[in-house]
């Protein structure tokens, strides 16, 4: 086996506890992007997400010695970061009156309005996807922080209910309940309950057609919306 094998998360955390000055940075760097995604979706905007992630990182750095090893290190890191975000949300008590999409401006600066997997879409499709993203994120903001965190972990990030329960430090049944209630609250906002011909509605947006103008500003409303 190579001597340069990658050290495991648990090894890095143990090294950090023993005083290694670089171990925690390496460990956090491994999971930073996913932790950022969770913080961003939980908090709803990049500024608060950065604050939540930073506070979570500080807490993890200082509380590393309390890690008991009965869960994966990444689960523990998620728990610390999510708890920091939820604490911030509870403290803020939803001060913002107008929900805004969390990362659209950031994406616009980089010339992409949707994720990297959408690069093949034409501008019309990008516009539709952009609108859908706005709508989902705005609807997500109407949930309680606990419901939002559960849905972010389970439905967005794809963690199992058991993993999410560990991250949120609650019972699995609690996670299921929060997800169930959260989806039920989102459904009307997303147009899922609207009467259709039978197929699952597509977030209340019009079907993607070539009729969508391609010359307008990329962030404008769909032209054929009634």
């Amino acid at each position: 086996m190579s001597e340069l094998r990658e050290r495991s998360d648990a090894e890095l955390l143990a090294l950090h506890v023993d005083g290694d000055p670089d171990a925690f940075g390496e460990l956090f760097g491994r999971h930073r992007d996913r932790l950022w995604a969770v913080a961003l979706r939980t908090m709803g905007n990049p500024e608060d997400a950065a604050d939540g992630l930073q506070e979570g990182m500080i807490a993890a750095f200082r509380r590393a010695g309390s890690f008991r090893g009965d869960a994966a290190v990444t689960t523990w890191l998620h728990r610390v970061v999510v708890n920091s975000c939820l604490d911030r949300l509870r403290a803020m008590k939803v001060r913002r009156a107008e929900p805004l999409p969390d990362d659209l401006e950031e994406r616009a600066d980089r010339g992409a309005l949707v994720s990297a997997t959408d690069v093949e879409l034409d501008p019309a499709q990008l516009t539709v996807a952009d609108e859908r993203r706005r709508m989902v994120l705005a609807a997500l903001r109407t949930l309680t922080p606990d419901q939002r965190a559960a849905l972010v972990l389970v439905d967005m990030e794809g963690y199992s209910v058991a993993e999410a329960a560990e991250m949120l430090d609650v019972a699995e049944g609690t996670v299921k309940s929060r997800c169930f209630r959260g989806r039920a609250k989102l459904a009307p906002l997303l147009g899922v309950l609207a009467p259709t011909g039978g197929d699952v509605p597509h977030a209340g947006n019009p079907p993607e057609t070539a009729d969508v103008p391609t010359t307008g500003p990329p962030r404008g409303p769909p032209a054929d919306r009634a």
């Binding site: 005083g19 000055p21 925690f24 940075g25 956090f28 930073r32 992007d33 950022w36 995604a37 961003l40 979706r41 990049p46 997400a49 950065a50 992630l53 930073q54 990182m57 500080i58 750095f61 200082r62 990362d103 950031e106 994406r107 994720s115 990297a116 997997t117 996807a129 859908r132 993203r133 989902v136 994120l137 997500l140 849905l151 439905d155 967005m156 990030e157 794809g158 209630r181 989806r183 039920a184 609250k185 989102l186 459904a187 009307p188 997303l190 899922v192 309950l193 699952v200 509605p201 977030a203």
Partner: protein, 242 residues
């Protein structure tokens, strides 16, 4: 209004919509820079403040007991010291020269045996000191014994003492030997609080103070002990007037 009950299809549609807005981009560079900066300060802070040494409860208890013993010893030594200068409490034996040299206070028969053998009641460890040190100690003791000290036993002669005349030269002998005289100017600091009467610098335990012999009144004379920096007398007694 209660939330609607979703069919499995509707539930799956909501989940699909949520999954479609999953954030997959990397952490923005400005956030990465901020995190790196925070991490650097945390690491630096950790280097500057090493973990405090763990103090076990047992060692803390031992330290507390030692402190209590030390305090008790100081009280005993202080008590012996004051009895040497206050005849109403006790006298002094010939082997003890001053209140300042409290370690030499006679306490037991063992001490008198040590004294007879030329030792001064030192511990076993100090008994193993070099002969040169012993000679120096002997010469010091001889110098102290040259003062006209009372020879009565500390406890036995107290009741028979009718005047403080024998006490006065002893108290005066304390002054030049007091351990604080070189670093503490009792004459300038403690006399501020001294009252009317004859003041003599003394130590009470390890604290400098002043013994004030009041003007005799009606056949008795009051003696007050003041500790430096404290306005009130900490000990008082009456002697038969000289």
């Amino acid at each position: 209004m209660s939330d609607p009950e979703l069919t499995p299809e509707q539930d799956e549609a909501v989940r699909a919509l949520l999954a479609s807005v999953r954030h997959t981009d990397p952490t923005p560079p400005e956030v990465v820079a901020r995190l790196d900066e925070t991490l650097a300060s945390l690491t630096a802070e950790r280097r500057e403040v090493p973990a405090a040494p763990v103090v076990t409860l047992a060692s803390r208890r031992r330290r507390r007991v030692a402190t209590a013993l030390l305090a008790a010893a100081a009280v005993v030594v202080g008590g012996v010291g004051i009895t040497q200068v206050l005849p109403g409490l006790a006298g002094s034996d010939g082997d003890s020269s001053s209140a300042g040299s409290t370690a030499e206070a006679p306490m037991s028969a063992d001490d008198s045996e040590d004294s007879a053998g030329g030792d001064r009641g030192l511990t076993d460890q100090s008994q193993r000191s070099s002969s040169a040190d012993e000679k120096q100690d002997d010469s010091e003791r001889q110098g102290q014994e040259s003062a006209p000290l009372p020879s009565a036993s500390a406890l036995g002669a107290g009741a028979a003492l009718t005047t403080d005349e024998p006490l006065r030269p002893q108290v005066r002998a304390i002054q030049p030997q007091a351990p604080f005289t070189s670093s503490y100017d009792a004459g300038s600091a403690c006399l501020v609080v001294a009252q009317t009467g004859e003041s003599v610098a003394v130590t009470y335990g390890d604290q400098p103070g002043v013994l004030v012999f009041r003007v005799p009144d009606g056949g008795t004379q009051r003696v007050d002990l003041f500790l430096c920096g404290r306005p009130d007398a900490v000990r008082s007694l009456r002697l038969r007037a000289p």
